[in-house]
């Protein structure tokens, strides 16, 4: 049951071969057994989970169920979840029980999905290894001496270890795609504006986007169809008709043109990643796709541009954590200003503080034009590169991450080295395009490799189709770590 697709689980529930309570119990017991090793979950609440499962069983019995009703799902701890501790991986919110649901959470409830718990993450989604969490690092189930990636590292580890069939994630610079790659999963970051940011704790608002993480493209299509949709409470939510993102899954790929950015196939990619990606491209050619070289000449500037824009937005967004309305407050202080300074010094971890300081600097008088505006201009150059590239191809492919999962501690003392692990994913966020990572093989040490798919704006259904056809011909996405 733990390896079943969402479609298979839905069918098993509909045909009464298993109840939602039984299914939830199965995963809760796996969490109880394996979470002490993996640290993938910050919060589990068996009582709440089983209550939701009982409701789902009633819905199933009454004939009012949808395709996902009764299936368990884990939420990244960045999503406000009414009545559940919602920490965002930070001491700052270590006592915050959310009084409301994020739009994504209420959509998933509406679909009848059962919340299994809240997954670990880099603090305020700032990290690429899940090592900045106040709740400690998450271990990669493929090799527990290695990181699962981040920031949605807990979600990725949970699915890889089959502690959850699927999870929600968020992606500001690669936080869905990079952990999906490092843990051997399928993850999708939608076009900016497709999934509401309401109740998703803000990091960099012009880049943040929620999306699904699961074992396959087919699973992600189901989840995205449930998750996406207009929400007037998010001023950047796009008012578009609802889509069935699985509508084109089976379409043959003959005639598909795949663009390969020459900048993504340079020296930065590890040899084992390269050979897995090359083999995946060969499979696509076998299925009738053609590959053409394209160029994203400004993509080399995406990491530095991101480390101006994202911290600038973060420094503004995180000013709300002041010890007054919610969250942590320092126990001792001299006056109001001292209360703010001590609360934020004690409540935030080192990486979050670093990014707030960077953001404050690049927005400050005398530096705004040189850094912030310059970064925004480069953002446009990067977005324009993609517009040009998509004149020559239907979809872009390349590696998701430059290497397979790295060792715990390998980059935690070197922020810049850590930032460069998102070198292939960040440009997609700056442009606002949809992107995916799908498993495409294994590198040295039996560690998963991810293939990145980048679609044109609103081409999620096409991207899922391209991913699904590959998954029909390969079984990388069905592998699971041994000894679990």
């Amino acid at each position: 049951m733990i390896n079943r697709s969402l479609k298979e689980l839905g069918a098993a529930l509909a045909e009464k071969r298993i109840s939602s309570v039984e299914l939830a119990t199965l995963f809760v017991e796996r969490i109880e057994r394996l979470n002490p090793t993996l640290n993938a979950f910050i919060t589990v609440d068996k009582g709440k989970t089983l209550a939701m499962a009982r409701e789902a069983d009633q819905r199933l019995a009454s004939g009012l169920a949808g395709p996902l009703t009764g299936i368990p799902l884990a939420h990244k701890d960045i999503f406000c979840t009414e009545g559940w501790l919602t920490t965002c991986g930070s001491k700052m919110l270590s006592n915050f029980v959310s009084p409301y649901d994020a739009h994504v959470v209420s959509r998933m409830k509406l679909a009848g999905l059962v919340t299994l718990g809240k997954t670990n993450m880099d603090e305020f989604a700032m990290g690429s290894s899940n090592e900045t969490s106040f709740y400690g690092p998450v271990k990669n189930p493929w090799d527990t001496a290695r990181v699962p990636g981040g920031s949605s590292g807990g979600a990725a580890a949970a699915i890889a270890a089959r502690l959850a069939p699927a999870a929600t994630g968020t992606d500001t610079g690669g936080s869905i795609r990079q952990p999906a790659a490092l843990c051997g999963l399928t993850g999708l970051k939608p076009t900016y504006g497709v999934v509401s940011r309401y109740g998703m704790i803000a990091f960099a608002s012009s880049l943040d986007q929620g999306g699904p993480m699961a074992k396959s493209a087919e699973d992600c299509a189901y989840l995205l169809s449930a998750m996406a949709g207009f929400d007037p409470r998010d001023s950047t939510s796009l008012d578009r008709p609802n889509e069935d993102y699985g509508r084109d899954l089976e379409k043959p790929l003959a005639g598909l043109t795949i663009g390969l950015p020459r900048e993504f196939f340079g020296t930065g990619m590890a040899a084992d990643v390269r050979s897995a990606v090359d083999a995946a491209l060969a499979e696509y050619r076998k299925q009738g796709a053609v590959t053409v070289e394209v160029s994203l000449p400004n993509s080399g500037l995406s990491v530095p541009a991101y480390y101006v824009i994202a911290p600038a937005e973060a420094s503004s967004n995180l000013s709300r954590f002041d010890g007054v309305r919610y969250g942590y407050r320092a126990p001792e202080y001299a006056d109001l200003s001292d209360m703010y300074c001590k609360t934020r010094a004690q409540g935030f971890g080192a990486e979050v503080k670093r990014r707030i300081l960077i953001g404050t600097y690049v927005l400050s008088h005398g530096y705004y034009d040189a850094y912030y505006l310059q970064a925004q201009k480069i953002r446009r150059l990067i977005a324009n590169d993609f517009v040009e590239a998509f004149r020559h191809c239907d979809i872009i492919m390349g590696p998701t991450a430059p290497s397979t999962a790295f060792a715990v501690g390998a980059k935690s003392d070197d922020p810049v080295a850590m930032y460069l692990s998102d070198i292939y994913t960040i440009a997609v966020n700056l442009a606002g395009l949809p992107g995916m990572s799908i498993p495409c093989g294994f590198g040295e040490g039996n560690l998963p490799v991810g293939l990145q798919l980048i679609g044109n704006y609103f081409e999620e259904a096409r991207m899922l189709n391209v991913a699904h056809r590959y998954q029909l011909a390969t079984n990388w996405h069905k592998r699971m770590p041994e000894n679990l």
Partner: protein, 95 residues
């Protein structure tokens, strides 16, 4: 443009984050590492390019000027560090 310790202290003050004297040296060094990365932006020719503030170009949506929020003060204040009579308490700012 490497930062010095005075600038780190000023940034900490602007950010309302206390940084102890013992930590300010390491903070400075790590920030300078990031600024060296950011410095690459200066070499790019962006003459005539409009800044891109957002991933998708959209105008701010307007809505009718009517009340849409319900009063959930108690639920929201239940998570506050300190309240009294429905008000948030902060340390005294005036004697």
């Amino acid at each position: 443009m490497p930062l010095n310790l005075d600038q780190v202290e000023r940034l900490a003050r602007l950010s309302r984050i206390e940084i102890s004297a013992a930590d300010s040296g390491e903070t400075r060094d790590q920030l300078n590492g990031v600024f060296a990365l950011i410095e690459q932006l200066q070499a790019a020719d962006t003459r005539g390019i409009l800044p891109m503030a957002h991933a998708v170009e959209l105008a701010q949506r307007l809505r009718e000027d009517i009340v849409t929020e319900s009063d959930r003060r108690e639920a929201y204040q239940a998570v506050a560090p300190e309240i009294e009579n429905g008000l948030y308490l902060v340390p005294k700012v005036m004697e």
